[in-house]
Structure formats: C-alpha cells, structure tokens
Amino acid sequence: MDPARKRTVRLIVALSTAVVLASALIYTSFSAASPALSPSQLVREAQAGQSYQLTGTVVDGSVHREAAVLNFAVEDRAGGTRIPVAYTGTVPDPFREGREVIVTVRKQGATFVGERDSLITKCPSKYKTAPASENQNS
C-alpha cells in the first residue's frame, strides 16, 4: 500500500474508534445519570429501583439516629412536600437541620433510602452571603 493511502486508512480507523468510544461514553452517561429532583417532583415521579438526586432543605427537628442509620426529612426550599430519608454512610461536618443538602436516594416501599456516602451539604449560607451591610461603602 502506498504511504498516503496507508495514512488515510489509519486516520479513518482512528477517527471511527474515537467516535465509537465517545458515543459509548455519551450513551452511558445518560443511562447512568440520576436526575436531580426537588422533594415535590420526587413524590410525583419516583419509581422503585431508580436512583435520584434529591435536593432540598433538611426539615427542622427531623434528624434522628438509629444506630448506623441517620434519618432525616428533606423539604422543598419553599417548604411543603417532605421526603423521609434513611441514610447510612459519612455525614459531612456542615450537615445541620435547615441546611441545603443533596443526597442520592432510591425508593424502597414508602421510604427513600440514601445511597451510601452520597450526602453532600451545600456550604452554610453564613460563609456564602455577606452581611446586609455589604456594598454600603464600596
């Protein structure tokens, strides 16, 4: 085979491999992804077995521990629908009642079971928003 032809063949092979790999990657990302839902959306849409990323605020007074299981409820940012979650695994330090969390859950019967070590606490607003006095003098 002459060198120019060989290079073209090589290029086509390499490019098609890249395309195949990239499409596999993209396809699996859609099938492996868990949608992010608020509690009210989750109540409407949850199917058993499928995992979801639940985002919301931890309800005041809902946190209690039973041995290794941490129970808490998550509600919409505006209040309303509450989802009880039974979670095992690492609890991030900033986890508190009233704080915004993201946790991957699966529906099991009436409750939602948190996936191990999936709990993320958004950083407390205290460190995020400045006091009302900001920009007064800038």
Partner: protein, 720 residues
C-alpha cells in the same frame, strides 16, 4: 487603608489598559519603545497589586473588621496563622490573589524573554494584561476586596473551621499559581499565532512555565486531596467533585502538552495539536477558576457566590472563539515537517499518550459538565456519580502508566525488534514476576488493581534500566563511582532524568491509589466506652471519652471552644499497635439567637481525624459524638437562660464534665487502607523530579565544561 486599596485597583486597571494599547501599537507600528513600555507596565501592575494584597493582608492581621471581607472570613478567635491565610478564603480575596499571582508570573516570563521574540512577546503582553484587566475589573465592579462598613463590627464571623488546616494555607496559592502559569503558554501561543511565528521558539521560551504550571497545579491538587483525607471526616482523597475535576482537566492537557512539545522541538511535528493543547489548557484553567467562583455546579467547594457567572462566560467564550479562529486561520503555517515513520516509535507512543490524556480530559469534562449538558438537552438536570467516572478513568489510567514506561525507552522514528527486545526484556520479566506473585496471593478478585501493580513494576523496570545503563556508561567513560556517576548523569540531563523520576513517582502514586481504593476495610458504627470492633486485621476498642475546653484566644489550636473525642486502642492479634484520639471540634457561631451558651458551640462542628499512618497501611479514625442527648441539651438551655455571655464558658465546663461522666454512644468511622502513604510519597517524588526538570542548567557550568573539553582536545592535538 481601604482607600489606598481602592486606588491601587483603579491604578492597576489604568496600567493594564495602557499596557494593552502600548503593546498592540508597538507591535503594529514596529516602534520598539512602546513594546518595552508595555512590558514595564506589567512590572508596574505587579508592584501595584503587591501593595493591594499587602493592604488586605495587614487588615486581616490587624483584625480591621471595617473591611467587609475581614469581618466575613476572620475573627479575633481565629488563630493568627489562619488569619493570614484567610485573605484568599473569600471570593474577593481570591480574585486579588489570582490577579497578583498572574502579574508576578507574567513579569517573570516577560523579563526572561525581554531580548527575544519581540513580536510574539508584545502580543503575549497584551493578552496577559487583558487577563489582568479582566480580574481587576471584576474586583472594581463586582466583588471588591476593599468594601468597608462604618462603624466597623466588633467581631468577625471567623474563618470557616474546615479551612483551618495547614495544607489549606498553601493549597489555594499553589493551585492559583498553577492556573495563572497556564495562561503564560496560552498568551505566548496566541502571540506566536498572531505574529505568524509558529516555529519551536515560543515553545522553548515557555516550556519552563508550562512545566511550572503543571507542577504547581499537580501539587495543589495533591494538597487538596491530602486535606480531604485528613480533615473532612470522610476518609477519601478524591470524590470526582466538580471543583476537583476542574483543576485536574488543565493538568491533564498540560501533561499532554509537555510531552507533545518534545515532538515539535525534535521533529517539527504536531504543530496544530500543540497550539490547540496550549489554548485548551489556558482556557480550562480559566474555566476552573470560573467553576470555583460561580457556583453553577453543585460542589462541596461552593464557597463562592453566584455573581461572577456572566463575565466569566463571556471571557471563556471569547477565549474559545479566539483559539479556534487562530488555529484555523493559521493552519497553513502549522503544517507538519515530518510524517510518522512507524507505529512503533517514540513519536507514536507520545501521540498515544496524548490521546489517552485528552481522552481522560474529555471523560472528566463530560462528567463534570453533565448536569448542564443534560439540562440543555433534556430540560432536566441530572448528574453522574463516581462509578461512572471510574468506569472510564481506571482503564485509561492503566494504559497511561504502561505508556509512561514504554515512552522513555522506545527508539525515535522506528523501533526494531532487536532494540525492542533489548529495551523491554527486563521490564516485562519484572512485570510478569509481579503478576505470578500476585496470582499466587489470589489476585483474581481485583483484576484492575493487580493490573496496575504489574504496570507499575513495568515502569520501574524501564526507568531503572535507563538509570542503570546511563550510570554504567558514565562509569565506563569517566571512571567515576556509582553515586557520583548517578548524580552527574542527572545533573547533565536534568530534563530527561527529571522526567524519568516523575514517571516513577506517578507509578508509585497510582499503585497507592489502586491499593487503597481496592483493598480498603471500612466500618461505621456506634460504640460505647469499653466496646470494640474489628476492621480488617485490626481490633479497635473505645477506651474512654475525652473532652477539652479550648481557651478562646489560644493561637496554638484551630480555635474551637469545645472538643469531644475518644481514646481508641488499636491492636492486631493481641499486640498493641497505636492509641488514637479522634475528636470533633465545636466552634463559636457568634449568632445571638442561639443563646449565650449555644452560640459558643453553635458553629460548624469539624472532625479532627486521628490516624496511624504507616508504610504498609493507614488506620484512620473519626468520631461523631452525640452532643444532643437530653442531659447535655438541658445544660445548654439552662445556661442560655441563666448565664450572661461572659460567664457562658462555665456551662461548657459542666457540659464537658457531664459528657465524661455519662458518655452516650458515639458514632465512629474506621478505615484501614493499605499503601495510602505511597500516594503522598509518589507525589513528593513527582515534585522532586519536576524540580530537577525545571531547574535551569547553569550556564556557568556548561561554559566551564565546554572550556575544559576544548582544552583537552587542544592537548590531544598538540600531542599528535
């Protein structure tokens, strides 16, 4: 003082705009004095921003709470060391740090190239000052570090206790140095394209900066991992978090660039590829800064507000559009000078390494931005978790480690069977030996981890052989001892042997990652004093609870009011191994609503991990005490009712005593993972290798050697 800071920022913006104008006018009109003046305005920018950051640093050290950022991220109870580092914990402060580091590194780069590549350097000056102007404008119009409040609050909020950790003080400057250094090859690359001077000159001039960017970024990432492992009460060092990924992406493309630039230098190939890599690395570095600062993706790092999204998106869009335009419009100049001779050559191995690195970057990019992508495509935000990342990155990492062994020893242009046999017989034998040993030990269960061990052994074999041959050759020609020969070898070929050492370090690091992620034993459970549990081969017994009241102004501590913990006895087969004392620190919140006692411990609790680190394994422990039991809760409520703030510490004393007398069950997190320490050791080896590669070959030495060899040649001639 704040006034001085604000004046500095305005002055900095003026200097930037003047410099951009002067640089562009100088290069267009060919008037050198304007190019020189533009370069000097970069030095001026560095000076002005140094004053600005000094003003802010002094405000932090003097507890000047009139500055809003000081009041938000520092307090009198924050230990002095951490007060100094709190400068870059806020959005505004970190923007200032970014701009300051950019001005310093840009000054250095332009100073070193002051007598070369006048045109390219002028364009680069304009681009670097453009970045400077962008960040300074952000500080003037969006988030100024010099905003003040009058009258000043009496006390600040305090530095987030999670950030009160030694590596956290150097992690941000390291990472930001890496990010800002990435913009220097970007600026020179764009300059070379703009000036249509696309030979290897600009690559040679900025190679060292690309290497420094790579080194700083890598160390920044590693320090972050170390922080996560020993501070977050989570026990992991990598979680595929958006911000971690954002710093890894430019590092990966930077690694690819450092390899492919050698091919352009030596063979004049891959010019389009190199230009694209440099532009991509710079853009990814800016995107990394953007991700940390914008809050568009959910991340545990969401320290920033959401105000900076739009300007960054505009900058990134401009960078991407500019890069594509430049590469496409200059494509004729970027024609390769040679063709690939053979698939079995160093060129093609380097190309393969580049493809793997860029593939890794693509995987991580897709996964990181997937929430945005899926929202755009399906109207619903969804995200992929660590298992998805692992599925692709683990095999790619295996290939990468394998190639890092093959690359340094395979021949340029075309490898023959004979030299392949000569180069790969020993390393392959070593890898097979490791495989046999592992199979004997039952390696079937974790094939990927064991494959990594074999690849690691292969790399050690390849690099070890290179060192051995180099030393042997020197000993034969120069009659030196083995150690002297080794040192001389590395000293004379810093770039080459520094690179080899980096490869060894990466292999060590990956072995640590593979072992600790695959052969880890973890346990989470509640224990009362006296109870014990088994984790892996170890028995851990909860001996007794501990409680410490930390004096408020004690600078030696991280500033927690109270810490509750446990004494743990770790034994293995009945023999004492270690006594560990994990604890949880409770910090003051300064929130009046929590009451006089409640506010003393109402801040964010932070785990203080305790571990017994070893060469073969780490025993890692963290505790989450139950501070909300009815008895303890009553002490706080009664104290809130009866005690004024100045006496509130008394109640904390009662609380500590009550906790010690009737300790409730505490939650523990135990991890025994093998070879974790080798991740950090591997990182140090990489760092050392990188430093060797980056160190300039002393020109004086080179001259002396040249003179001596010339003298010897003359002597020989005279004798003949």
């Amino acid at each position: 003082m704040a006034g001085l800071g604000r004046v500095c920022l305005l002055l900095a913006l003026v200097v930037c705009l003047y410099g951009i104008g002067a640089a562009l006018y100088g290069v267009r009109s060919g008037r050198i004095e304007f190019s020189v003046s533009a370069r000097r305005s970069v030095y001026a920018l560095a000076g002005i921003l140094s004053v600005a950051i000094l003003v802010l640093e002094i405000a932090f050290l003097r507890d000047d709470f009139a500055f809003n950022t000081v009041a938000d991220t520092s307090s009198r109870t924050t230990p002095a060391l951490y007060r100094a580092a709190a400068v870059w914990s806020s959005q505004e402060g970190s923007l200032l740090l970014w701009a300051w580091l950019l001005s310093l590194w840009a000054s250095l780069a332009l100073f070193l190239t002051r007598n070369r590549m006048r045109e390219v350097a002028s364009y680069a000056t304009a681009i670097l000052l453009g970045f400077g102007a962008f960040f300074v404008s952000l500080m003037i119009f969006y988030a100024t570090p010099f905003a003040t409040t009058n009258p000043a609050p009496a006390e600040g909020v305090g530095l987030d206790p999670l950030l009160r950790f030694p590596t956290m003080m150097i992690h941000p400057p390291m990472l930001y140095s890496g990010y800002t250094l990435c913009t220097i090859p970007l600026a020179f690359g764009m300059g070379a394209l703009l000036a249509r001077r696309v030979d290897a000159e600009w690559i040679r001039a900025t190679r060292r900066f690309a290497l420094a960017a790579w080194l700083f970024l890598g160390m920044g990432i590693l320090l972050g991992a170390r922080w996560s492992y020993s501070e977050l009460g989570w026990g992991g060092y990598w979680g595929w978090d958006a911000v971690e990924n954002a710093s890894l992406m430019p590092w990966l493309t930077g690694t690819a660039f450092l390899h492919s630039l050698m091919i352009q230098e030596k063979r004049g190939m891959l010019k389009v590829w190199n230009a694209s890599l440099v532009l991509a690395t710079g853009t990814l570095a800016i995107m990394g800064t953007f991700l940390v600062r914008s809050g568009v993706l959910n991340s545990i790092h969401a320290f920033g507000g959401a105000t900076l999204g739009v300007p960054f998106v505009v900058l990134i869009a401009a960078l991407i559009a500019g890069s594509i335009y430049l590469v496409v419009s200059r494509r004729d100049m970027l024609r390769t000078e040679h063709r690939l001779d053979s698939l079995l050559s160093r060129e093609s191995i380097f190309l393969a390494n580049n493809l793997v690195l860029v593939g890794l970057c693509f995987v991580i990019f897709w996964g990181t931005y997937f929430p945005l992508i899926s929202e755009a495509l399906t109207g619903r935000e969804s995200s992929v978790g660590p298992p998805w990342f692992d599925r692709y990155t683990v095999p790619l990492a295996l290939v990468l480690v394998l190639l890092s062994g093959v690359g340094p020893v395979i021949a340029w242009r075309r490898a023959t069977l004979a030299n392949a046999r000569r180069n790969f017989a020993v390393p392959l034998a070593l890898a097979l030996l490791v495989l046999v040993v592992l199979l004997g030990a039952g390696a079937g269960e974790k094939p990927l981890a064991n494959a990594m061990f074999c690849c690691g052994a292969f790399v050690f074999g390849c690099i070890g052989q290179e060192f051995f041959r180099g030393v042997r050759a020197r000993r034969a020609t120069a009659q030196e001892g083995a150690m002297v020969a080794l040192l001389a070898l590395v000293r004379r070929n810093r770039r080459r042997y520094g690179g080899y050492i980096v490869h060894v370090g990466m292999a060590v690091l990956f072995i640590g990652v593979a072992a600790s992620s695959s052969f880890q034993h973890a346990s989470e459970l509640g224990l009362s004093p006296g109870q014990s549990t088994r984790v892996g081969a170890y028995t851990i017994r909860y001996v007794r609870p501990t409680a410490t009241i930390t004096p408020k102004y004690d600078a030696a501590h991280t500033g927690s009011t109270l810490s509750l913990g446990a004494v743990l006895d770790v034994t293995r087969q009945g023999r004492h191994v270690a006594t560990l004392e994990p604890s949880e620190g409770y910090y003051a919140s300064e929130e009046q609503a929590q009451g006089s006692v409640g506010s003393l411990i109402g801040g964010q609790p932070v785990s203080h991990v305790s571990m017994d680190g070893g060469v073969t394994r780490d025993v890692w422990t963290a505790i989450e005490p139950d501070i909300e039991t009815p008895a303890l809760h009553r002490i706080v409520t009664v104290g809130n009712r009866t005690l004024p703030p100045e006496d509130a510490l008394v109640a904390i004393g009662y609380l500590a005593r009550a906790y010690l007398q009737h300790p409730p069950q505490a939650q523990f997190h135990f991890i025994v993972s093998p070879l974790v320490m080798w991740i950090w050791i591997g990182g140090l080896i990489v760092f050392g290798g990188g430093l060797i590669a980056i160190w300039p070959a002393p020109s004086a030495v080179r001259r002396r050697v040249a003179i001596r060899s010339r003298a010897r040649a003359a002597q020989g001639l005279a004798r003949a």
